[in-house]
């Protein structure tokens, strides 16, 4: 296994590599855990852990209540690792829907991750394929959001790359363990936790808090409002494609608006300079 091979090597200082070099030697997990960014990633994720946990628990409850066996529900939890896709696929599986319908549904529910992967590309290309795939697999919604908030610009500098990997590791570990622990609790206690209590609402509140923390510019607030309205308006679309439509509408409206604002600001600066 490549991980073991990397662990056997002494922690040699990384030599500066030319930017064209496609792959960087991945740092070992234990080295990354000693990096202060790892703790930061963990702490950031801890602020929403209660929401992730409640959401994971309700996903576990929902799978068992739909009629899945314990083994199936646990396999779903540990392998699929995508709450919204699990919730969308569960009733289809139990109804005996054809496999391609189930997979197509999960694909559409997950399409937002494809948009995220465009953004993550510049951060990921430095690593070998197996590591990129593992990293992609483990990057859930909030891992992506927190990661690009903390590290807004990709870099080829080894020190920065190391900090980014450490932050990512801390956040993904926290998210993974919280989600798994609480999903397993949900599967085990499904008969005692009624879905009607609505504990899953904590997951929505966690997303809400994160969304509010992302609002830095007025145009981002506009994007949020447009996307929210579009997602409601397009809700009737099958396979939760309304989310993709909402992202597209927000981008199509906000990118030209940003260009107009920039042009107007530049021209007003110019008139100020001329006046003075």
């Amino acid at each position: 296994m490549p991980q073991q091979a990397a662990a056997l090597q002494p922690a040699a200082p990384q030599t500066t590599q030319p930017a064209a070099q496609p792959t960087a030697q991945p740092a070992t997990a234990s080295a990354l855990w000693r990096h202060p960014e790892a703790l930061l990633g963990l702490r950031d994720m801890a602020t929403v852990a209660i929401g992730i946990g409640a959401w994971g628990m309700m996903t576990g409850v929902a799978m068992v209540n739909a009629g899945m066996s314990t083994v199936e529900a646990l396999a779903m939890t540990f392998f699929v690792y995508a709450g919204s896709a699990q919730l969308a696929a569960t009733p289809l599986i139990m109804a005996g829907a054809p496999m391609w319908v189930i997979l197509a549904t999960a694909l559409c529910v997950n399409l937002r991750f494809v948009v995220f992967s465009v953004h993550m590309r510049a951060y990921m290309l430095h690593f070998p394929l197996w590591r990129r795939l593992v990293a992609g697999y483990l990057t859930a919604d909030l891992n992506y959001v927190f990661f690009v908030r903390r590290h807004p610009t990709p870099s080829a500098d080894p020190a920065v790359l190391r900090a980014q990997q450490a932050y990512w590791l801390g956040g993904c570990s926290a998210n993974w363990s919280t989600w798994m622990l609480c999903s397993v609790i949900g599967v085990a206690l499904a008969n005692f936790i009624p879905v009607a209590w609505g504990l899953g609402f904590a997951g929505i509140l966690a997303l809400l808090g994160v969304a509010l923390s992302l609002l830095k510019t007025r145009l981002q607030s506009v994007a949020a409002l447009i996307a929210g309205a579009a997602a409601v308006a397009a809700f009737a679309l099958p396979l939760r494609l309304n989310i993709l439509v909402a992202i597209a509408v927000a981008v199509v409206v906000c990118v030209p608006l940003a260009a107009v604002r920039k042009a107007r600001m530049q021209s007003s600066q110019r008139t100020e300079q001329e006046a003075s």
Partner: protein, 121 residues
């Protein structure tokens, strides 16, 4: 395909076909989350798309959240007796007051749960 029927009538029977589906779903998770960095081949994003990435995360979150707050069973809610609205308002207020996501979750649930379970809203 009797798997679905069997599983729902006989509790706790594990079905091979379902496990195969779960394996397929796992592949979907990996492929969608790594889609644009599976290949290392050169590819330049158009400028508008690059600028669009300023808005993609917030738009995706809003698109997931808003329907969960104001819709039920595929319809826009027409009543104000929906505890999710008050939970979200409380959460938003506390977020701007304390700048804390955890505060948002706790305040939102503190408003939501009593109204939802106790009042039945």
């Amino acid at each position: 395909m009797t798997s679905g029927l069997l599983a729902s009538t006989v509790p706790n029977v594990t079905d091979g076909w379902t496990l195969l589906t779960i394996a397929g779903l796992t592949v979907i998770t990996v492929l969608t989350r790594s889609f644009f960095f599976i290949s290392q081949r050169d590819f330049k994003l158009p400028r508008w798309a690059e600028q669009g990435l300023h808005y993609a995360p917030i738009a995706a979150l809003a698109a997931v959240i808003v329907p969960e707050l104001v819709m039920s069973q595929g319809q826009l809610i027409s009543t104000l007796q929906d505890t999710r609205i008050y939970g979200a308002i409380a959460g938003t207020a506390v977020f701007f007051w304390r700048k804390s996501t955890l505060g948002c979750i706790i305040a939102g649930m503190a408003v939501y749960l009593p109204l939802h379970i106790g009042w039945g809203w």
